[in-house]
Symmetry: C2
Subunit: 214 residues, 2 copies
DNA sequence: CGGGAATGAATGACCATTCATTCATCGCGA
DNA sequence: TCGCGATGAATGAATGGTCATTCATTCCCG
């Protein structure tokens, strides 16, 4: 079949052939996933062939299907791994930081550091993952919501503590915050210039907390 | 040919068959474009067939190619028309408004009103147009830059006038501003709830100007 | 040897695009 | 007013090329 639909995408894509040979399997799986990031970043998901991914990973086309259900599953796996890593890292980094403003700074920095570290991953996350409305809906209703919740909570804490204004909806503020970071990342990824993305984190947080007015 | 590449996308797609019979031609062209928005919004660009667009437009498949060079050209045309309209409307609406803060409010409102008016258009603009890195690069280097420039100018004016902080880069602030609006739109488009998107404009501007801190 | 892992040629859909044909309209001469 | 050829818009079946996916076969390690 040559079926492009995202409908059949399953969330249970991480484990596969959970046989005895986990370590070598994991190695190869990773190689394929890394190759997919590279190829998708360069040509875009729909313009990429599974055979290209296989070639870059140094395996045969059929091998991809020993580790992934379908081409879709490649994209979904990249996405799930990245989001899971990001959210785990975020939670860990925030564990010992009670101050709301410091938490926001931390989130901003982690967000931009992660994407700024790997341009190809940034391309896939900022562009290729947003392929279709179907995919976006799944994405936004799960991981993005979790991520927004983390931001919203920091903001609400700040409001409770009295350091943040109470007359803005914490949810709206969280969306604005995320949108600002997202746009910084997209702009960086599309820019020719090789500036340091993570360095923008503090600037953005300063602006959002201090406001543009004086 | 069954070529998906965005490379050959041409900007000169608006005029076509500029013969004596302009009115009927434009009508049909519009119908096809409207159908394309509808179909792309529902299934996603790559999952949509040209034949579907034709069916929804009430014409035969071949007819699409009398008005558009290719399937790509449909997407490009939607995008160019939308951006052109938005920038024209923006310039006009800003003409008699000298106050920087009022200008920003105006921009925010127009931005969210336009997308909030037509959910299908919003889907195409917020998701489908961001298909591939190739397309994003073309997009961001032309229209998006123009749009960001309009925002940046308002901010720089405010800084010159002394109503806005001078210690933030106007360009960064413009990206943050755009990112915030963009995220509000995306969230609205993905949300089940039918709230009024344009109503968020003032809230966002208040937050960005006043800041989250107190 | 035995068996799982890997291979890559072959398969079978799918679908953008083309183009021979049909259809509708119009100008013009009688 | 009618008839008739000319024009070009519209049609949709056919084409051709592309790939995702499969699976019979081979490889390699223990």
């Amino acid at each position: 079949m040559n079926d492009h639909s995202f409908i059949a995408m399953s969330a249970t894509s991480t484990r596969r052939l959970a046989a005895v040979k986990a370590p070598p399997a994991t190695d190869k799986r990773d190689a394929i996933l890394r190759a997919a990031v590279k190829v998708f970043a360069r040509h875009g998901y729909f313009q990429s062939q599974v055979a290209d991914v296989a070639r870059v990973a140094g395996v045969a086309a059929g091998t991809v299907y020993l580790y992934f259900r379908s081409k879709d599953d490649l994209l979904v796996s990249i996405f799930e791994r990245t989001m899971k890593d990001a959210i785990d890292e975020g939670r860990a980094a925030l564990a010992g930081v009670p101050d709301p403003e410091a938490r926001l700074r931390r989130i901003a920095r982690l967000h931009l550091e992660r994407l700024g570290r790997d341009r190809e991953l940034a391309v896939v996350v900022q562009v290729e993952l947003r392929q279709s409305i179907k995919f976006m809906e799944r994405f936004s209703s799960s991981y993005l919501q979790d991520y927004l919740t983390i931001i919203r909570r920091a903001i609400a804490d700040g409001q409770d503590a009295g350091t943040f204004r109470r007359d803005v909806n914490a949810n709206t503020a969280a969306k604005v915050f995320f949108g600002a970071l997202d746009e910084m990342a997209t702009n960086w990824m599309l820019s020719r210039r090789k500036y340091d993305l993570a360095a923008e984190a503090d600037v953005v947080v300063d602006l959002l907390i201090g406001g543009l007015g004086r």
